[in-house]
Symmetry: C2
Subunit: 282 residues, 2 copies
């Protein structure tokens, strides 16, 4: 497995793989790899011949009061994990490699970025889209893999790729959960044992919503209230949002119809955690 | 020479040229080709092995009260011109081919897009950057060629390519002028004989500025006043802006130092015309 820090090296290695007729699969990450990331790598291995994983904690997607400084960095373990799964190339650039001068070019996916996490984290999604575009242009993959846990990010990236005719396919892979139901996240490392216990209420409340909807409930406000009650069982849980939105447009729904994304963001201690389920009412 | 309307065709033809080891040169245009465009094609022929010209009047870079409906369309002549110059492939997509659904993804190059034409034509540059990104992603050229007449556009495109790590080189070619000094533009077609005469005052006033600066004048306000006087000789000329800005940052200069872009935009009849010179005071 190659590990490269420079854009020039990455381009050389990938273009050789391309020239050899290999299909390039790409998994962009911020490191601190867990089974969620590994599931993306496995999906890439199934569909592609040459797998690139990027490890880059991208400063432009963090807000001024967010956790970039303490974001977990486990580079050596990450590389061991990648190697074990048969990754061909790890791209681990420095910040100055990715941003050699002030970045003044931003990609905005309007409307999809306004709700949910876009509301709580202004500037976050333009940082994500912009760094993904940069990485796509550097790695030139045939397929890139993202996780459904970041449901809004997944929709935004797919729309950016479509609108800008980017020459790659985006595949969204299912959420991977701990046995408690807690969605895998690098930020789970911030949780104490007690907080981790309470964090399982996030998925429990999503499952509760599924049951309520299956039983015929259609009013968002009623379902939210029930979810809120369940989350409030955890004294450390501070709800950022509970949203029931159209799964394609991310517009808030008062009454549920069609494919609905039920999405939660909470803070537990210093960790901001998100999770979601998609429910099809059609 | 191939003429293709679909993205799929373009990708197929270009990828064959790439596979044959050819260097792809790309000249994006809105058609109504003139000697300015032809100079770009000639520059592309000198440096590249396979030349693609796109002809697409891009709706997203026109404002609501601008001239998209009457923008000159001379497709057959354009193709003859391209063929005569040895162009390999003309890409002439329909609007629905380029925008099959509402476009909600926009690329903004901040600060560089705020002054000059960005002020007079809100939304123009995000339309230009976005369609250029789309075309680059469709054509995947090694080099793309733009004209210096659109000085602000040239800087913005170069910065977008750098900031987003787009895998191509941008080459800016000199302004081509009519014998009167008038910069070649598809919009010159809008001019009556009398208006065309007056339009030569644009370049005359730029040359006047060059002389004034060469003679030691350094105050922008003084130089602008002299340029304004000269432009006012043409009764049909309505000045949009006369700007003396830093040639790299496009920030207005009160006192001239370093590389200065002297830029003019005027309306004559229904035509909005721009022109510029760069003067190096270092």
């Amino acid at each position: 497995m190659d590990i490269a820090e420079s854009i020039r090296e990455i381009r050389e290695i990938v273009s050789q793989a391309h020239a050899a007729g290999k299909k390039i699969g790409f998994v962009p990450t911020m490191g601190a790899l867990h089974d969620g990331h590994f599931s993306l790598i496995k999906a890439a291995k199934e569909r592609c011949d040459f797998i690139v994983v990027s490890i880059f904690v991208n400063p432009t997607q963090f807000g001024p009061n967010e956790d970039i400084d303490k974001y977990p960095r486990t580079f050596e373990d990450d590389c061991l994990g990648c190697k074990a799964l048969g990754v061909d190339l790890v791209f681990a650039p420095s910040v100055s490699q990715m941003y050699p001068q002030e970045n003044i070019t931003w990609i905005n996916v309007q409307s999809l970025g306004d709700s949910l996490c876009g509301k709580s984290r202004p500037g976050h999604f333009r940082g994500v889209t912009t760094v993904c575009a940069k990485l796509f242009n550097i790695v030139s993959p045939d397929v890139a893999f993202f996780g459904q846990k970041d449901a809004q990010q997944a929709l935004i990236i797919k729309r950016m790729v479509a609108d800008l005719n980017m020459p790659l396919e985006i595949i969204i892979c299912p959420i991977i959960r701990e046995p408690s139901g807690l969605a895998m996240s690098s930020r789970n490392k911030y949780l104490s044992a007690e907080e981790r216990k309470q964090a399982s209420l996030i998925y429990a409340s999503l499952q509760h919503a599924e049951l309520l909807i299956a039983s015929g409930l259609r009013k968002s406000a009623d379902i939210k209230l029930e979810m809120q009650k369940m989350l409030n069982i955890g004294p450390e849980i501070k709800i950022d949002y509970i949203s029931l939105v159209d799964a394609e447009t991310l517009q808030e729904l008062e009454t549920l119809t069609g494919k609905v994304l039920v999405a939660i963001a909470v803070k537990i201690g210093t960790a901001r955690l998100i999770d979601n389920v998609i429910i099809d009412n059609t």
